[in-house]
Symmetry: C2
Subunit: 368 residues, 2 copies
Amino acid sequence: MSFAAAFELRAGGGATRHRIGGDALAAAAAELATEVAGRTVFLVTEATVWGLHGERLAALPAACSRLHRLVVPAGEAAKQVEVADSLWRAMSAAGGKRDSRVIAFGGGSVGDLAGFVAGTFLRGVDWLLLPTTLLAQVDASIGGKTAVDLPEAKNAVGLFHHPRLVVADTGVLATLPPEQVRSGLVEAVKVAALLDPELLARIERDRAALLAGDAAALAPVVATAARLKAGLVERDPDERGERGLLNFGHTLGHALEAEVGYGRLLHGDAVAHGIRFALRLSVLEGGDPAFARRLAALLDGLGVPPLPRLAAAPLLARLERDKKAREGGLTWVLAASAGEGRLACGLAPERVAGELAAFLNEPAGESL
Amino acid sequence: MSFAAAFELRAGGGATRHRIGGDALAAAAAELATEVAGRTVFLVTEATVWGLHGERLAALPAACSRLHRLVVPAGEAAKQVEVADSLWRAMSAAGGKRDSRVIAFGGGSVGDLAGFVAGTFLRGVDWLLLPTTLLAQVDASIGGKTAVDLPEAKNAVGLFHHPRLVVADTGVLATLPPEQVRSGLVEAVKVAALLDPELLARIERDRAALLAGDAAALAPVVATAARLKAGLVERDPDERGERGLLNFGHTLGHALEAEVGYGRLLHGDAVAHGIRFALRLSVLEGGDPAFARRLAALLDGLGVPPLPRLAAAPLLARLERDKKAREGGLTWVLAASAGEGRLACGLAPERVAGELAAFLNEPAGESL
């Protein structure tokens, strides 16, 4: 057994080992066993993932000193302060120590929650991340961001807490619902559009196989997208500069997700609409219209459903609260052409407001 | 205007400026104004402190862009997950941004809570700490530890988040209740006993003036104790080694505090009893009995009230859950003689249990 990709991401004074491949959990079994040997382990997971893939962790109970499985709600419902509180209390009552380990086994929400809980329990215990969705494997599992939501804003409470080991087993993706595959592919498109014309061309070419959940097609896309993101994170761990590129499509995307309702609009779909809007701004700022059309066509080709009818005003209010906002205003990520992403800070709010109103009034697929 | 002490503590990739003195808030007014200029500021405080000393921050509203005052309960009642949640939500609703500032103005509990909230809001906003109790000035305000409590354990949830600036104005200590002065002096005795025979002698000599809240007597004690702790923190920011010395008296102290009830036993008083027990273990491990008697006499002289009658079993269960515990067992801090603190990891649990039972059965003042 071997990995499609194995690399180390150095950040936050430590290093995260990343292992990616079609049978990565089996291939990383010895590494996982070493990580938990003699320790109390808190395995945070959700019921569906555990039911489908729990057997892949069958060696874990014998490898560690004590294993406590903590089952949390699926999806964004896991990322609540109250759920974090229930985990902290369970870990404290079970005698969790500073050298205990937290393992997150699930999608991006499970990882965000478990990483936040690990980073704050006893002022920080180490953790391992086993992402089981495409979205988590290409994006959320890289870079040490953890968070829970507030009713007022997504990811509003959290911290940077880098896991020791990330094992992305693309073999588990075969059981994903098709819309989850699509949602994950949007994040791969995002990073490809900004940084890697070759990956973008590959996604365009293999679109059908990728959407079908074909493991052979998915493995190199996950591996390349993860490496690209890891490179950005390593060069800018605290998101003071180029890591901000990864927010392409996320500025409006997060506002859309919150406005429509967490869980009612998939993260990747929200980001896809955010990218469409960012491309509109990019063209206004001198970007290549042909590239914008090409990217929009790819997003349409992934089957991203149209946005429901939304008013601009509440979205603008949410943008105003966006956590990336500085007192000087929002930063937008623009893409002028393939592989040429850039940050733009000075866009006039009234101009953005006008463009947003026009964008929301257009039927899907005609926004460029 | 000048400071009794002004130094920088480098840790966590940044630096914290410490300003200590009898009129430090006035002397640091320009620095404070620079920190908040053009920013949204969340001032976390409690009603009594604000009523007594709020006027010392009269220049703040004009210095920043927007000031939101967030009043939290006094004492340990502030350090609850629900209180943190209410602050996060208030900050989010008020449009808090990554470059907003949190200011903590109060005792150790206000600082612990506000620092935790600052460190986790939007994955971390910078903060300033203005400690108003002796306990906070000599101990809690140095080293970037933040936390809230769980019902199961004190300080069980938190993170290291170093403030940019700490201003300890000893002029505010004149309004402290006498038991709060005593409680703070215990932490000064702790660090002096471990590291600085000269400071220990000074506290013994000036005991009456210190207990009376005499600002001239308190300023050099606060300045020296703060510097000593800052030195330890700088050399061991993540508490992997010698910073652990600062837990002298805290291993049992935290368990006592939790068992008797947060707020019903003052932190410093709990630590004083913890020090008495640690001295008992120190002597058993070959420490100087005369030094142990001297330190116990000083603690008695501060007026630490006797412990209520307590059973050993629930305390031992709490020690077991202590966040400093590793899978290998508890680490105890021992003091063999003046200025000679050390960490001891291998004490047999059954021996500690026996000593604790004996300690709890002895009348106060006869424990050595």
